[in-house]
């Protein structure tokens, strides 16, 4: 945020002429002395589906969490749908209403019903009436195919159902971008498919998506671009075809042999 050269490069958010919805430039992040993200440049166009993979500790989660300011960054710039991410809470708030997110652990609110989980944010931040918010929530719960669970509590649902509720909850805010941070990593194998199917549908509807995932089948099926990260840097970035058949980087090939090899 304080990087001068980056500020000089792009003082005003240059989202208008092309259809970039996320523009990350020269992003650096440290946890104390640990360099978590190194010189990340990434532009995401409207409707693009991007899969980010890499070994654990490579910074892939940290990268997506920087986009909606769950993590702060120390160098470089992030522009999301025309708003530059600064320390200003107004900018942060505006970006968070445009960006939906799903977490590995779902993070549903356990004391609220499925329906209340979905209507809370629209009612408080979008000032929707209860009736409108509930109607919309039911629409999205239908979309993720669990309208019949609307009045249950998260603890009564399976992991796969909970993650689909989390997707519906995020969609209720009508985000322009969806971030997924290892959405299937905490799920039993038989539940992974139902969540991935929901994500594939979302992709078909034209949602702009950034997915941190090791589901390479999903990457092959829906990704426009696959990004491989290692030690905080993007080391490979290509279309899935090239990525899986002709990765340039040795580290990428090693990683792929590990995740595809079993």
């Amino acid at each position: 945020m304080n990087d001068r050269s980056a500020q000089a490069r792009g003082r005003t958010a240059p989202a208008a002429q092309d259809d970039a919805v996320i523009r990350i430039s020269g992003l650096n992040k440290w946890y104390g002395a640990y360099h978590a993200l190194r010189d990340i440049d990434l532009t995401v166009r409207k409707g693009e589906r991007i899969v980010i993979c890499g070994p654990s500790g490579s910074g892939k989660s940290t990268l997506v969490r920087c986009i909606n300011a769950l993590e702060t960054h120390q160098g470089g710039t992030i522009d999301v749908v025309g708003t530059r991410l600064t320390d200003d809470l107004k900018d942060v708030g505006r970006i968070r209403t445009e960006v939906g997110m799903c977490f590995q652990q779902f993070n549903l609110f356990p004391h609220l019903t499925v329906l209340e989980n979905c209507t809370l944010a629209p009612r408080w931040t979008r000032r929707q009436s209860k009736r409108d918010a509930e109607a919309e929530a039911m629409h999205f719960l239908n979309k993720v195919r669990i309208p019949d669970q609307a009045n249950k509590y998260p603890g009564q649902l399976s992991g796969g159902q909970q993650q689909r509720v989390a997707i519906a909850r995020a969609l209720c805010m009508k985000p322009r971008i969806m971030l997924f941070d290892e959405p299937t990593s905490a799920l039993d194998p038989e539940m992974i498919k139902e969540v991935l199917d929901t994500m594939v549908e979302l992709a078909r509807d034209g949602m702009t998506m950034l997915c941190v995932t090791h589901e390479m089948g999903f990457a092959r099926k829906v990704a426009d671009r696959v990004i491989f990260m290692d030690a905080g840097a993007i080391v490979e970035e290509s279309d899935p075809e090239t990525f899986f058949s002709a990765a340039r980087n040795a580290r990428t090939r090693q990683f792929l042999s590990q995740v595809l090899g079993h």
Partner: protein, 225 residues
């Protein structure tokens, strides 16, 4: 004199019964004022302790430590007998409510701090990712979940402070114990004290049961509804 006419003298008890009734009324009023006032203040102090700028956090910690360390009786005597020297004159009820409330608020703040800190980080992250503001996150996400965790120890503290209302008799507040000792002096018979003890038990035994029930109920499903 035989045992019954000394300790369980029905005639004496019936004579002083109105006094004791007034006493239990005052005791319940004092306990209620303490628990409500100190409880609300405690939650607010807890929020300052966790989320305010550093200076205020430090002040909150000092407040909590001070009133958890000081004996209630000492605090009560200072408020009732020392503050008049600086022109602050409180009646017995107000002095007792203030002393008990200060102590109860600091215990409440600690119980709720533990409750809030037990909530997984993902909860506030999810709220942030949805664009919820800080006050909404506290009010709709953090406090309701902290309540569930804090209710058993909080109820236990409430019972303890309700028992400590008997300390107010020292500053001549006509609570149940004071009324009973007055009645004892009046009738030259200790039966009113026994009657008062039984009245305390009638009120507090169900409360103690409630604590056990809540502890049992919230033990396993602190998060489920």
């Amino acid at each position: 004199m035989d045992f019954v006419s000394t300790f369980l003298n029905v005639e004496v008890i019936l004579r002083v019964y109105p006094m004791l009734l007034k006493g239990i009324g005052n005791t319940v009023a004092l306990a209620s004022a303490t628990i409500v006032g100190g409880g609300v203040a405690g939650v607010l102090i807890c929020l300052v302790r966790l989320y305010a700028p550093k200076v205020f956090r430090g002040l909150a910690i000092a407040y909590i430590d001070l009133f958890r360390a000081i004996p209630i009786l000492v605090l009560l005597v200072i408020i009732y007998y020392a503050l008049p020297f600086v022109g602050i004159r409180l009646n017995a009820f107000m002095a007792a409510t203030l002393a008990l409330g200060l102590v109860f608020s600091s215990f409440t703040a600690e119980v709720f701090r533990a409750g809030i800190q037990a909530i997984p980080r993902g909860q506030t992250e999810a709220a942030a990712a949805l664009g919820l503001s800080f006050p909404v996150t506290i009010w709709r996400i953090v406090l309701p979940q902290a309540f569930r965790i804090a209710i058993p120890p909080h109820t236990s503290n409430a019972v303890a402070i309700a028992k400590d209302t008997s300390l107010a008799s020292v500053v001549a507040m006509p609570d149940l114990l004071k009324q009973a000792t007055d009645a004892q002096a009046l009738t030259a018979n200790p039966s009113p004290l026994i009657a008062a003890a039984i009245m305390y038990l009638i009120v507090l035994l169900p409360a103690v049961r409630l604590v056990s029930y809540l502890e049992e109920r919230f033990r396993n499903d602190g998060k489920a509804a």
